[in-house]
């Protein structure tokens, strides 16, 4: 398998958490992967993007026109990284309905609005968007069960809540 995912957002949204979950998924199936983080100097509120390359790779960075999927936890951050998405790739994005139309498959959800309505605590935004990716990306490399297992391995304390959010997102996308 060769699969490249960019996860984009800003500091504090839990971008790195998602990379770790996907890394655990790969590890559990004994597939090689390489991941890396890109961020400026900000700790909170600055642009952050992470690359994860699953399969036979020798460097951790995703080049332009190469990513199979971008998971954008923020609308602007998804667009800032759009050059990395390859032709035929999927954009998974947390955005309002006025998100621009793109020459890619787009799986959009307004997770901010959901959280503001109190459907889930805002700290679960990243997991919600991972659920949107599971529902909206046809060739996503991991199954729901694999992702749930990895979430439980990441942090057993909040696993139940996170899995609930993941499933909520998948139901919302039906």
């Amino acid at each position: 398998m060769k699969y490249q995912i960019v996860i984009a957002g800003f500091g504090g949204q839990g971008v790195v958490f998602l990379v770790k979950v996907l890394a655990i998924c790969a590890g559990n199936r004994d597939i090689a992967f390489l991941g890396t983080e890109n961020h400026g100097m900000s700790q909170r509120g600055g642009a952050v993007s992470c690359d994860i390359k699953i399969g036979d790779f020798t460097n951790p960075v995703i080049d332009k026109n190469q990513a199979d999927v971008i998971i954008g936890l923020d609308s602007n951050e998804s667009l800032r990284n759009i050059a990395f998405l390859k032709t035929g790739g999927t954009m998974v994005v947390n955005a309002k309905p006025d998100y621009p139309s793109l020459p890619f498959t787009v799986a959009r959800a307004d997770a901010n609005a959901k959280a503001l309505q109190g459907a889930f605590p805002i700290q679960g935004l990243n997991v919600y968007m991972l659920g949107v990716a599971l529902a909206g990306v046809k060739d996503f490399p991991f199954s729901v069960e694999e992702v749930e297992k990895a979430i439980a391995q990441m942090n057993p304390k909040v696993a139940q809540q996170n899995i609930k959010i993941l499933q909520m997102a998948m139901n919302d996308c039906k």
Partner: protein, 610 residues
Amino acid sequence: MKQTLMGNDAIAWGLIHANVDMVSGYPGTPSSEILSGVQKIKKMLSLPIYAEWGANEKVGFEVAYAGAIAGKRACATMKQVGLNVASDALMSAAYIGNLGSMLLVSADDPGFYSSQTEQDSRVFAKFARIPVLDPSTPQDAYDFTKLGVELSEKFQIPVMLRPVMRVCHAREIIEMDETTEFKPNEGKFVRDVPRWGAVPRDGRFVQGVQQLERIETIAKYNWEHFLKPQFEACQGGELLIITSGTGYGFTQETLKDLGLEADVVKIIMPYPLPAKEIQACFDAYKKVLVVEEPYPCIEEQIAHPKVYGKNTNTVHKIDEMKKEEILKALQKIEFYKGENIYEAPKIDLGFSVPARPPALCPGCPHRDIYYAIMKVFKRKKSVYPSDIGCYTLGIAQGAIDSLLCMGASVAMASGYALADPTKDVVATIGDGTFFHSGIPPLLNAIYQGHRFVLVILDNSTIAMTGRQVTPSRVHRPIDIKKIVEGMGIECMEHHYSCQMHENVDFFKKVKEKYEANTSGPTVVVVREFCILDAERAPDFVPNIYVKVDEDLCVACDQCTTVYKCPPMSYNEKGKIEIDPFLCAGCAGCLEVVCPTDAFIVDENYLKKGM
């Protein structure tokens, strides 16, 4: 045993599995997690290891190096600009050597992600005449750490490990030792004055001659163990690619993506290189391309008419490695004639994506203090030198005029005050940076009577690199105020307040004091906290969340240009809106910041962490 690790954690495990029992250094992105990783493993397995941050890189290096002289296996960790600070010690250590092992880890940052220069530590190793190892991946980082420790003991000389950010902060499954059977080393200083205390000229001259001989021996070792087997496996042909570090992984992928084949040699030890042996292999090729980052370290050592690289304008000279850059280099030397597959099709969004420039965190006290300083010491009549740390981000508020390197704000305040006495010079420095290198220049300013204001922003942590503890917080607390008073002058003290008028009032007092001072610096310590400091912040943050009264907001830009808190931005109605997901509940903007008092308490704020 297989384990998913970040490069820096892999280095930490490598040190443990090489029985390194003294680790010192100074935090700096991308190196910081190495020493904190060792501390975690030490705690987890109750290992007898010294693993502590030094006051600065030079101190960290010297503590570890003395251990290596006394027979311990030691390591010093730092980032590439930190090596500048430690370089005085390194240059001499490279003559003297060690009995135990001395591994220097200097992490580079090609692409300037969080550094003021893009300098190449491999070139520094060459300058100091010590061997350097260049890992490509976290797995290499683990293996080369162990190798470096062994080589240092074998050749009795400090060895450098030079990982770049894409190794330090890369993550992969690595294969490491099954079990940890840690064996600490016996420290025993053996008196040998001609060696440990060599004085110029005779003593050091002898060591200089030995240094030259040693580096030649190591170059031969490099050939026999690392290079010859690789060159012997090569086929010959049109192109030979010589790479090191991340260059190797990027090269392999580019060749695969483009469907090309060429011999690739991975240089494990970029210095010292056996140039003649390597150049003799060029006969089998038409061209040789060197792929490395960020400086042409290998390329210059093996310079030859067939060699292409940065010095021939074939490979990019600045910024980090990209496959696209290798593709372009292959096009330039006419090895690849196809299209640029790494070029993204242009997409017209009809608007430009708004920039998200680096900013202080929501709720960070630095923002309020900068705001108060600028309220009292007006921009037009002031010069604001500042320093390296989170508070550097105050530059977005217009609160900083110049930056140089760690600790420079204090001496530069002296210089500005001497050069332009018509301006009020107000310097800012964090507590970590003050401890690191702010004390000698303050001493200098006091005894020479340089007149300026120095504001020490004390949040009791080295926040930017991941909140390592400062000397004010561990073991025996050291108080900045007493340090300043110990130099014979008063140190004004202020506790940050979320009520802005209190901060402004304090700086009015500072200005009075400064105007009354005819000579010497006026020094202030502001006691703050880091909003991300889980241990201390909850004691300070009032959890008062804010919204905007849209009738009062006149869109004057004050908050978005001078206060600059990330949750504040204009909405579609042209009024300021607070992003409820970003507001930290610090209440700092409720007073003074808005000329029309449009920021009001949001009683119904969606509480975080429900």
